[in-house]
C-alpha cells in the first residue's frame, strides 16, 4: 500500500530495502545532531556547508481530503509549498538575518530541534544524484527522520512544529551532504504567524 511518506519520497529516488550498517547509522545520527546544533545556535552559514550545491529543499502544504482522495493531501511539486528552495535561495534568505532589520527574527527566536526515529537505507542512486565529482565516491543514503521543533519568541510566543523529513544524503570527501530534503509538517493551516526558521 502506498503511504503518504512514500509519495513524498518517490519523486526523488527509490530507496532499496537494505538498512545501513551500524556505523553508518551512527554517523548519520551524529550528522543530524550536529545540524540541529547549528540551527539552534543560529550558525546558519555553517549549516549551509552541510547542503549540496544541487540541493532541493521542499516543504509542501497539506490539506484535508476525503479518504478516497488522500493521494491529493500533500501538495504536488509545483503547488503551494512553505519552502521550495535551492541552496542559493536559502543563502539569500539567511543573508537577511545579518541585515539588522529582519524584524521577524530580530530579536531572534529560541529554537530546539529534536530529531528522532532515524531510518537509514541504502539508496539506488540515479546518475544525477550520484554525481559527486573528483573522488568518485557515490554512496547515497535515503534517510527518514522525525522532528519536533520548539520555537519561543519575544516574551511568550510559542510554536511547536512536528513532522517528518525525507532526505537524500550523499557521501563526499568532506563527509555527508544533504542533497534532497522533503519536510512534511503535520499541520494543515500553519499554526504560526510565519516560518522564519529551518527544519
Amino acid at each position: 500500500m502506498s503511504t503518504t511518506s512514500d509519495r513524498v519520497a518517490t519523486p526523488f529516488l527509490a530507496a532499496d530495502d537494505r538498512h545501513s550498517d551500524l556505523s553508518t547509522h551512527f554517523e548519520v545520527e551524529q550528522f543530524y545532531y550536529r545540524e540541529a546544533e547549528l540551527l539552534d545556535e543560529c550558525r546558519f552559514s555553517e549549516w549551509l556547508e552541510l547542503l549540496a550545491d544541487d540541493l532541493v529543499y521542499w516543504m509542501p502544504t497539506r490539506t484535508d481530503r476525503l479518504r478516497r482522495q488522500q493521494a491529493l493531501s500533500v501538495a504536488a511539486r509545483g503547488e503551494a509549498a512553505f519552502y521550495d528552495e535551492t541552496k542559493s535561495s536559502l543563502e539569500w534568505r539567511i543573508r537577511r538575518f545579518d541585515s539588522g532589520t529582519a524584524w521577524a527574527e530580530d530579536p531572534p527566536s529560541r529554537t530546539r530541534h529534536l530529531i528522532t526515529n532515524v531510518r537509514v537505507r541504502h539508496a539506488n542512486p540515479t546518475d544525477d544524484l550520484a554525481a559527486t565529482g573528483a573522488d568518485g565516491d557515490t554512496a547515497v543514503y535515503a534517510v527518514r527522520s522525525n522532528f519536533l521543533v520548539y520555537r519561543n519568541r519575544l516574551q511568550r510566543e510559542e510554536n511547536l512544529f512536528a513532522g517528518e523529513r525525507t532526505d537524500i544524503l550523499r557521501r563526499t570527501g568532506d563527509g555527508l551532504l544533504i542533497v534532497r530534503r522533503t519536510i512534511l509538517l503535520d499541520q494543515n493551516v500553519l499554526l504560526a504567524k510565519n516560518i522564519s526558521i529551518f527544519f
Binding site: 481530503r65 501538495a75 503551494a80 541585515s99 524584524w103
Partner: protein, 452 residues
Amino acid sequence: MTSTPELAGRAGRPTATPAGPLHRPSELTPTIDVSGLVDADGGLLDRAIFTDHQIYQQELRRVFAPSWLFLAHTDQFRRPGDFFTTYMGEDPVIVTMDKSRAVRAYLNSCRHRGARVCRADAGTTRNFTCTYHGWAYDLEGRLVSVPNREGYPDRFDTADWGLVEVPRVENHRGLIFGTWNPRAPSLREALGGMAWYMDAMLDHDGAGTEVVGGVHKWVLEGNWKLSAEQFATDWYHVNMSHASALMLLAPAGKSPRDEIVHRAGRQYVDPNGHGAGFPVHPKNRFDALAVHQWFDYEAARARLGDARVEGPMTNGHATVFPNFSYLPVNGSVRVWHPKGPDRMEVWAWTLVDRSMPDEVKEAQRLYNLRTFGPSGVFEADDGENWSEVQAISRGFVTNSVPLNYQMGLGSEREDGRYPGKTSELYSDAAGRAFYRRWQSLMNTPAWYEVDR
C-alpha cells in the same frame, strides 16, 4: 429551496428559513453606535475597534454579512462536483460547481443539527453528506436523503430543508465573490472604480488568470482590519518594515536603489472603502526575472494604457473592502478571515497569467513563495507588525490612546491620469476611506434588520 429574498428579514434573520414562532430577542444582538470611534475627517481612530468583542460581533453581522466577500478563483472549478470550502466572515461555506456548471455557494452546516456537511478543504463529490445523522444534499443544495424519513410529521417537506444558499455569487475576471445580501448591488457595481485598478492585474492580455494549486493558510494573532487596512493604504511601512527584504532585492553589497525607496506614486481612494497604492515610474517591471523577460509591456500598454502599466500593473498593494487584498507584482491574492477580535487566518493564492509558459508560471510561484508566502522575506515582517500591535492593545491605557491616520489629509483629488480620487503614494487617505466605510456599515441596519 430556501432562497426567497422577500422572506429575508421577517424574523430578523439573514436567510429565509422556516423559523416557526422562533424570535431572537434583540438583547442577543446589542448594537453599538460607532460614531465616536472613527474620525475619518480628522484621521483619528479609537483602538477599541481592534479589541472589543461586541464590536466584533457587530462586524460579523453588519460589515461581513452585507458585503461582497471573496470566495475562490474560477480555475478551482473545472467539473461538476469540484468543491472548495472556505469562510465568509466566520460562516463556513462550500463553493461548488453544480450539474449545470454554475458555481454556487452554500452554508456548510447541516439543517438538522448544524454540523459541517463537508470536512475536506477541496475535492470532487456527488453530494454532501452529514456524518452526524446522514442527511445528504446534492450539488444543487437539495436535501436528497433523510434516514428515517417516515419519522417526521406530514408537514415536513425536504424542499424547506436544503442547504442555505449564498443568494448572490458573481465573478469579476475569475475572482469569485459572494454575499448574503439579496439586495446588494451587483459585484461590478460594488467594485466601482476599483475594477479599473484590479484589471491592471487581472487583464494583462485578455487570456485571463489561473491559480497555482493549493492555498497557503496561516494564523495571525491580530485583528483582520490591521492587515486589510495596510494593503489598502500603506506603502509607508515598506522602507522600514521590509528593509532587510529590500536589501536582498538590491544588487549584492549595495543598499536598495534610491528610486525604490523614494519613489513617487499614487494611492487610489474608493468611496466604498477599497484602496490601492502604487509607485509610478515609466520603467516599472515585474520583480521575477523570468516574468519580466517574458512579459510584453508594449502590448500591455496598448491594452491597459500607459498609466496602468506605469503604476498599478506591477508594484503596489490593494484591498477590496472588507477583507480581500492582493499584490500585483507577484500575483498574491489573499483573504483575511476574521477569527475573533484578536485573531485572523490568512488564506493566500498565487495568481498567474493563463498565457504564461510553464517555466514563467513556476518563476512567479517561487518568487511569491519566497517573498509573500508564510515563509516569505516580506510577509514574515508584516505578520510581526500586526501581532505586535495586537498583543499590547488590551492594556487599558494603551487601548484608550487614539491612533494617527493623518498623513495626506486633504490630499485626495482627481489628478487627470488615475481615475477617481487619488492621494500620494505615502498617505493614509485610503485608510481613512476604509474606516469611513466600516463606520457607515456598522451604523446602518443590514437588510435583514429592516422591517419591510
